[in-house]
Amino acid sequence: MTVPVLSAQNIGKSYGSGANRFDALKGVSVDIRAGESIAIVGKSGSGKSTLMHLLALLDDPDSGALLVEGTDAKKLKGKEVNRLRNQDFGFVFQQFFLTANASVLDNVVLPLKIAGVGPKERRARGMKALEQLELADKAKNKAMNLSGGQKQRAVIARALVNNPKVIFADEPTGNLDTTTGAVVEDILFSLNRDKGITLIIVTHDIDLAARCDRQIFIRDGLEDVTRSPEAIEKPAGAHA
């Protein structure tokens, strides 16, 4: 059995201190294997985003351990963590986080710019990513002039541009209408299928969760074991 890409071992996270202390995550364990798609499902406020942030090394757990390909994340140097987030991880957020006044291309190549890639190569790789998402004709447009679906495709292009191993998507369809949402979902799953990119999707949408290989249910900061994956009925025609 291969080492999991990411392995959370009984991780917990609290916000605030003293009387205001709030345990957002109270000990969750999960192994994520290369190439799989996994959904983190739960109600709003249950701690899904907190778990994802810990898995993506955006935050440090207060208890438990997080292993990155078998290495304890605590032992990784800041530089190594930055490299992982820049090159191995891609991020897709519900609120897009595009710089409104900058061009679509400039937004997409931001991870490459951070990595120190030269302008020529940046352009070439950015355009390639945009072509994959059928946004090449919008490359020079300002990000604020795109529609919601186009914005999310631009965000996916940005997540893809550095050829990541894992894509983290936090409510990727939360701000989109059903049709557009479905298109974005298809794009994400095709990346998982065709390129073997590991997909970690945070969602409260049961239908989206069902399309993933595996689901982990979170309730009040704990894994809800009463809802085993088998308990979910897969919608007809969905990817099995």
């Binding site: 955006l58 935050d59 963590v81 987030r85 090159q87 986080f97 931001l110 710019k113 951070i114 990595a115």
Partner: protein
């Protein structure tokens, strides 16, 4: 992130909020403009003074006079009469009207010459010719510039006075040319003028002199310069017919010392002379007090400019804190995507430095334009009689220093917001809604 990317991104970021950046730039502009103008005035005035008093001809000369009686204050009443003391004589050029100092006698000259470090001493004889005339075209009053042999003239034509020459030389100011009947400075060179001077009995005598040079009007006393032989000849005429036995006395003497003497050695000579009761000043000392006044004025103006720049520094802090606030998400996103805190810091610092550069470069540029224009207008109007005076002059090095200092202030102002940005937690930024 690469260095060039940090710079281009920072510049692009500073233009995102044009109004805010613009207002900050104006604040810096005002400070840099003032600093550039005041430093320009400093450069202009100093370079004019230097052209007036070229240090070369005057560096080895002390003007020596008898020191006033330090004890004779108003409360003490008059000092007791001393028959051995030379009579007080009225000073001509340059002293307060009616002021007198003790005159130097030949014995004093001997004492001064014997002082260690002094290689020679000449009494400064003051001659008062009656008129100057050229080519029978009329007689005009002649003012003699006593400082002429102490300084190197700012020449419009011809050569400097030569004290070693055997000919009697005169250096005319440009203002004399028209009156005497010369069309150009060059046409006066080599011509012979006639100087009229009265002897002791009051009989007028005529002395010819050759014009060797024409001098631009100077701030160090107007008038014509005479070389030593001509001065001596005129002095001889003035003294002819003096009753025998009348003691010779002089207001001042010029003492020469070794040209290579260090400042410390010059100070020692002056102290030595002071102990013996003589006051000695180099030309630099005489000019120094004038320069001190100008430096104080410039210093005050500079202080105002620096205050303006410090205020502008707070403007930079404010501008950048607001943009850190506005770009919270963007900073969080960049950090989430693996940008380290140091680069985020560099990004905001660079933006501050760029705003500083923009304000100071524009301020300096406009100051150079306005200063040069005003200076040229003044040179042909108010300062018409002082040829060569460009009140505002710009040295590239001081402009570079001003821009550099402003950029440094901007960098320091930027550290606070840049640190706030660098410390931002990506999670807080991405949750921020």
């Amino acid at each position: 992130m690469k260095f060039v990317d940090i710079i281009t991104t920072a510049i692009a970021n500073s233009f995102r909020s044009k109004l805010r950046t613009g207002l900050t730039v104006i604040a810096i502009f005002i400070g840099a403009f003032t600093l550039t103008i005041t430093s320009g005035i400093g450069t202009g005035v100093t370079s004019y003074i230097n052209s007036q008093v070229s240090a070369i001809g005057a560096a080895d000369v002390l003007t020596v006079s008898k020191a006033g009686d330090a004890t004779a204050t108003a409360d003490d009443g008059p000092a007791p009469y001393d028959p051995d003391k030379a009579t007080a004589i009225s000073l001509g050029n340059g002293s307060r009207p009616g002021s007198t100092i003790q005159a130097l006698t030949d014995a004093d000259l001997g004492t001064i010459e014997a002082t260690s470090g002094i290689v020679g001493v000449d009494p400064a004889v003051q001659v008062t010719p009656d008129y100057i005339e050229y080519d029978d075209s009329g007689k005009f009053e002649l003012t003699v510039n006593a400082a002429a042999t102490l300084t190197t003239a700012d020449l419009a034509a011809g050569e400097q006075l030569d004290n070693e020459s055997t000919t009697d030389q005169i250096l005319l100011p440009t203002t004399y040319l028209d009156t005497l009947g010369f069309s150009t400075p060059e046409s006066a060179i080599g011509e012979t003028v006639t100087i009229g001077i009265a002897d002791f009995a009051g009989t007028q005598q005529q002395v010819p002199a050759t014009v060797v040079g024409v001098q631009n009007e100077t701030i160090l006393g107007a008038g014509a310069g005479l070389n030593q032989p001509l001065t001596d000849r005129l002095h001889a005429v003035e003294l002819s017919g003096t009753p025998a036995g009348a003691p010779q006395s002089y207001a001042t003497a010029t003492a020469r010392f070794d040209l290579d003497a260090s400042d410390a050695e010059i100070t020692a000579i002056k102290a030595d002379l002071a102990d013996q009761g003589y006051a000695a000043q180099t030309v630099a000392d005489q000019i120094g007090s004038f320069e001190t006044v100008i430096n104080v004025i410039i210093g005050v103006l500079n202080a105002f400019a620096v205050i303006a720049l410090i205020a502008a520094g707070f403007g930079i802090i404010n501008t950048l804190l607001m943009s850190v606030q506005e770009r919270t998400r963007e900073i969080g996103l960049m950090k989430a995507m693996g940008m380290n805190g140091g680069r985020v810091y560099a990004l905001f610092s660079t933006e501050a430095v760029f705003i500083g550069f923009l304000g100071s470069a524009l301020g300096a540029l406009v100051a150079v334009g306005v200063g040069s224009l005003v200076s040229n207008i003044l040179a042909t109007t108010v300062f018409e009689n002082l040829p060569g005076l460009q009140v505002v002059q710009f040295a590239p090095s001081s402009i570079a220093i001003i821009i550099g200092v402003v950029m440094l202030i901007a960098f320091l102002a930027g550290t606070l917001p840049a640190r706030a940005a660098a410390r931002q937690n990506p999670i807080d930024a991405l949750r921020y809604e």
